[in-house]
Assembly symmetry: D3
Homo-oligomer: 131 residues x 6
């Protein structure tokens, strides 16, 4: 078996079910997404990742939509198709409109462009940025 | 001359000075940053890049601090040291507190981690994300 | 013809067949994988790449499974779906168990996360690391 | 203050000191590295990251040197200079010889090269890799 | 609606149609590619991107085939499947032969390999490169 | 010793000297660059890398300046500071003017931008690109 396989709820150990139950309660969804079903192949990895994600995405100084847009900006920059699909959907759910999506893509694109200019022109960092 | 050199205002052509003047007025700064001084080696590139940046960072559906944080998220993901230094400073100026910075880094780190899990486990995209 | 096409054994030149034969003998496989069939469009590139790979993956100071896991870690970090599929299979063949796969993904994910923290927090390198 | 600053032990809160003490005990070092001092600007991020790292690098199915080499392979592929410096030192400490380092770099370089061939030639994944 | 949707000519606003018409005239094609149809979801982004691309790909100091090959080299290095497919086709149209494609891939692969060696061996930059 | 060290000609083995001599003759330089001095820590890696580079950069279907610009485009996209410095110098030596450099950076920047749009908008590949 070369390709990893998902773990469905019915086949899961008690340890994995406990995590799935927590995700379903927290996210208010009937079933967990493939991300969690595949990570469940390693129950310790599943548990650690869910606990980190729950803490990081909890209400705090940044609101939820902003966090999802940052997640999406990283996923686009990494060219990660699953991350892009998943966090576009989660950002939509958190209120991302078409206008916001267009501006988000504009900033992501411009940042990727100017990052390359900065490296290609071998820019010394301005003193003020180092204060 | 292997290494690109900056163009200082005093040595700039009228075309370059016009762009520098617009940046200084728009950004309310006494002098432009190295980014613009180096791009000025190609006046057409300087002008295009400034016009794009002015349009993309103008007030719109997303507020200015959010745009700077997205810019920073991309720069960190690309490992671009100039972009990180510059957009940390610009985000600070736009109101990024220590607490916001910590949460921003937490989301960026987590997204880079889970992007790799998504690719490494070869996750099929859930139907709901494709709707 | 925009998309590159594979070269099958029956259609290959003597030069390409010699490389294919060496791969089949070395790897103990009936047919070479798509990687080699597509590179065969440039026989010199095919030959150079195979000779490098044979030398690099030969028994040495690192055992074969470790080399395959490193190959996989790079492929995941680059988000290269072919490399991920191919080197998961080769690592499985070399003895990678489910437990090893889970730990490997855990390290890859954590490293991608902490690399971004290192860049985002603009860490100076500790003196001891430069000795 | 644009640039993040390190938190030294003497200035740290009890929460941060507890993490620093655990790192010093676990790693048998007199002082923690810059990585931990900078993350301490966000105590929750510091604690989460240390707990994950402690769990992921603990003895398991993979030995410690292999984990450090995988960490290094990711850091090199991301071009993260701090990660490269840090994990070269940790791999050395865990027994990486000059011969192992040379082979490790050889595999990393080859993988980065062939990943690009796989994408550039638009390789379809072989059926056997999907089993 | 999670997944972005294309804007077809028949459903487009006057503003979007004007850009599509310009692309069709400039590129001498009956219909624009998916790239433009999707960007049209944000008319300002569509217009800016097309104007930049028209300026950047216009005849200048570099000939058109070289520009397309550079575009392809970037797309391969980013692992962007759409960019690879699109710019392979455009480079073919601009005269890229099989022999040129093979050499191009060889250089891209080698550069990706030696970039990692440069970072992994932590090379100091030679004085002559900084002149 | 954590940090790799260069091998100078006077301290090199006969095997390493033979490679250094070949580089000096081929490149018409008095001394080899740091790249080769550091790789010499693993003589087999040094030899393989030089032989590949000599073959790939030899006169062929692409001229030397184009190959150096492609090398530079990859190095900028990877954010590899050594590769950027080295291949800017080599491209200058091969005839890259200021105007060419500006156009090259413009194409690299635009490609990095549009690659992200392609991924972010989740573009399906046009049929014509798959022919």
């Amino acid at each position: 078996m070369n390709r990893p396989r998902p773990v469905e709820y019915g086949d899961a150990s008690a340890e994995v079910r406990a995590v799935f139950d927590d995700i379903r309660a927290e996210r208010k969804v009937a079933d967990v997404s493939n991300f969690w079903k595949y990570l469940a192949g390693d129950p310790a990895l599943l548990k650690r990742t869910w606990e980190t994600q729950k803490a990081v995405l909890a209400p705090g100084a940044l609101d939820h939509l902003v966090k999802e847009m940052i997640y999406l900006a990283v996923s686009v920059t990494n060219g990660c198709s699953y991350g892009i699909a998943c966090h576009t959907a989660l950002a939509r759910k958190a209120g991302m409109t078409d206008a916001v999506f267009g501006e988000l893509m504009s900033v992501i694109g411009m940042a990727n462009q100017t990052n390359r200019f900065a490296d290609g022109f071998r820019l010394p960092i301005d003193d003020v940025f180092n204060e």
